[in-house]
């Protein structure tokens, strides 16, 4: 599966480790609404349950996000994908890859897992139609060798959703 072959899994740097621990503590104290961190002892991979916001197309639906942290987090963005089955969304490919700028080019080390989650939920919530991206099949085929979405050259064209 694409999800398991994360980018070259180098152990977290000290600073990444420290920051993630603090993020986790903060999460436990103050989790973003609609998300649930699945307890594990792996700091480098978080699995997060997403509940579609009520009143949106995805209400009462639950999905799983998988967040893999690179060695140099937060200087580098984490890899965030939906564990298939991914929600039907014009920016979410069936292999779980998410076309969202903050996960790639627009990542800033000032962001946190929590802020990513909120962005993703907002992306889901603002969707007006449940459908796959137009180029879904082509893209998924291209990724069949387990390519990370971070290696994709994303084209962020739609700022509505």
């Amino acid at each position: 599966m694409t999800s398991s072959s994360a980018p070259s899994r180098k152990a977290l740097s000290k600073i990444a480790c420290n920051r993630l621990q603090k993020e986790l503590v903060e999460w436990q104290v103050n989790p973003p609404a609609g998300f649930k961190h699945k307890v594990s002892d792996n700091l480098q991979r978080w699995v997060i349950e997403v509940n579609g916001a009520p009143g949106t197309l995805y209400s009462n639906e639950t999905y799983q996000l998988q967040v893999d942290f690179p060695e140099h987090y937060p200087m580098e963005a984490p890899q965030v994908i939906f564990v298939p089955p991914a929600p039907l969304h014009p920016h979410i490919y069936s292999n779980g890859h998410i076309c969202l700028d903050i996960l790639y080019d627009s990542w800033s080390p000032a962001m946190t897992v929590s802020s990513i989650c909120i962005s993703i939920l907002s992306m889901l919530s603002s969707s007006t139609v449940k459908q796959r991206p137009a180029d879904n099949d082509r893209y998924v085929k291209n990724c069949r060798n387990g390519r990370s979405p971070k290696e994709t050259r994303w084209w962020f064209h739609d700022d509505k959703v």
């Binding site: 740097s13 000290k14 600073i15 420290n18 993020e23 200087m75 800033s108 080390p109």
Partner: protein, 511 residues
């Protein structure tokens, strides 16, 4: 004229950062080009006091040759006294012209290994740190203690952080060095607000402004509470009034009079755009002839309710503020200036370190004094300078809310000061020092004494200090207390109360 800025910051971890204990101080002299300044020389210095209570004051003087109120002399005396009493160590350094160096332990002039820095010019980094253009590379702390600030990138705690020029967010030096994206040809973006050409500046510990902003937030909450309480009080009083009117018709005359007076005051105040005061004072209320009232002229007019409000503010500040002693925490000054400009006595609140009773005591003491000497009117005529505070402080208010770069025109003559701004642009290939006009850096920072300090009158620290200095001369001998803070407190209380009295009594409006 003499300007004084006081800021106290707790020195975290004295043992860990010995250089803060050993006291850093810098002087830089510069020529003032501002036309309205008569004298030529100004003396700007950062003096860190540290005493056994692990507290450091940073006093910044902008002192001209003319020192009409003798504050500079007084200051030097204070320093001598403290030296004598070994309360502080004191040390002049960097008195070379145009050099501003921070006393930073050599250890902290290079990265502490938070990241595997690849292309860091260690020499240059050292230079920038020594010149206070970047925060020293203190080892980050895992836990928050005292006044440490958290770097929002690495989540570690530091005694001081750099600030992004665009959005004033903090960042530690080592994280800042990581911000330049080596794979991008685009200029570095601010990680916080995405502004291009990310640049930071260093202003020492938390600056007045930031603390001010933080405190404004807190203050707003407090204000809201006070307003609520006030509303309750008013309702109560109105009910009382009605009852009184029912009981006796004779009493109704006197309150009306005073009430009118109060309205007059508040209307002139509201020009300052001050919400709470106009809120609280414009409403009619019965003013009890309090014991604090002076006998001679009816100018010195404090009612109980106001005292209560002041007390509430005072208490809340005490609660908020960490257990600190030397007063004049810049931040609180800020808040006070903004919000309570005209409630006259509050600036004092922050300055008082006396645990005994806060403002009410000071005011009471003052009132007594005034009763004794009955010279308040003389003082108030002499002390016109006290009014300087208002325009200045309302300007400050603007500053806090708006962009810090929005300087009042008075300052426009201050040209670029090559100070404390470091830009990380791709084009420069390294985090070169940006020598653009960064007046932002100058605004009331403790490290603002730059090589060419030309920020003159517009500096945010100045309006208030003017006031302090101006009022200082009015503290007459008899009740001057020993400690500096109390002196200041009383001085301000006197001048503010008088200023207020003048405005209400003789109809001079605040301008």
């Amino acid at each position: 004229m003499l300007e004084l800025e006081l800021q106290s910051t707790k020195v975290p971890k004295m043992k860990k950062f010995p250089e803060t204990r050993v006291i850093a101080s810098q002087i830089s002299r510069s020529i003032h080009s501002l036309p309205h300044r008569l004298s030529l020389s100004s003396l700007s210095s950062n003096i860190h006091f540290s005493d056994s209570k692990a507290t450091a004051n940073c006093i910044q003087f902008d002192c001209e040759l003319h020192d009409p109120c003798g504050l500079w002399k007084w200051f030097k005396k204070q320093v001598r006294r403290r030296k004598r009493e070994k309360i502080i160590e004191f040390n002049w350094m960097g008195n070379k012209l145009g050099r501003r160096r921070q006393v930073v332990d050599e250890r902290y002039t290079r990265p502490q290994g938070l990241y595997a820095h690849k292309d860091v010019d260690v020499k240059k980094l050292r230079k920038l740190i020594l010149e206070s253009k970047l925060a020293p590379c203190y080892p980050g702390d895992e836990e928050c203690s005292c006044d440490l600030e958290e770097c929002p990138i690495c989540f570690l705690y530091y005694p001081s952080l750099n600030r992004s020029r665009c959005c004033m967010k903090g960042i530690c030096t080592e994280c800042f060095l990581q911000m330049k994206n080596p794979n991008s040809t685009r200029p570095t973006q601010c990680p916080f607000c995405k502004t291009t050409n990310y640049a930071v500046e260093y202003r020492g510990g938390k600056t007045k402004e930031e603390k001010g902003n933080e405190q404004i937030e807190e203050q707003r909450v407090i204000e809201a509470k006070i307003r609520m309480r006030q509303q309750e009080l008013q309702d109560e009083e109105e009910r009382m009034q009605k009852r009184q009117e029912l009981c006796s018709s004779s009493t109704s005359v006197a309150p009306r009079e005073v009430e009118y007076n109060a309205v007059a005051v508040s209307s002139s105040r509201s020009l300052e755009g001050d919400e709470i005061v106009s809120d609280s004072c414009a409403t009619p209320m019965i003013r009890q002839p309090s014991r604090l009232r002076t006998n001679g002229d009816d100018e010195f007019d404090l009612d109980l309710e106001e005292l209560m409000v002041i007390e509430a503010i005072w208490l809340s500040i005490q609660e908020n503020g960490r257990p600190r002693n030397p007063a004049f925490d810049g931040s609180e000054q800020y808040v006070m200036e903004d919000r309570y400009v005209t409630s006259t006595l509050s600036p004092v609140a922050c300055s008082s370190s006396s645990p005994s009773g806060g403002l009410a005591c000071a005011i009471a003491a003052l009132a007594e004094r005034q009763q004794m000497s009955g010279e308040s009117s003389i003082i108030s005529h002499r002390n016109v300078s006290a009014f300087n505070m208002l325009p200045g402080s309302s300007r400050l208010y603007n500053r806090v809310d708006q962009d810090a770069e929005n300087h009042p025109p008075a300052e426009s003559s201050s040209s670029a000061s090559p100070d404390s701004r470091v830009a990380a642009t791709r084009d420069e290939g390294d985090w070169g020092v940006d020598r653009g006009g960064s007046e932002v850096a100058e605004a009331g920072t403790s490290y603002a004494s730059s090589d060419v300090t030309e920020d003159g009158s517009g500096n945010s620290s100045l309006a208030q200090p003017d006031e302090i200095a101006g009022s200082f001369q009015n503290v007459p001998g008899p009740i001057v207390p020993e400690s500096f803070e109390e002196q200041m407190m009383l001085a301000m209380a006197v001048s503010l109360a008088e200023a207020r009295a003048m405005s209400s009594g003789s109809g001079i409006s605040w301008q």
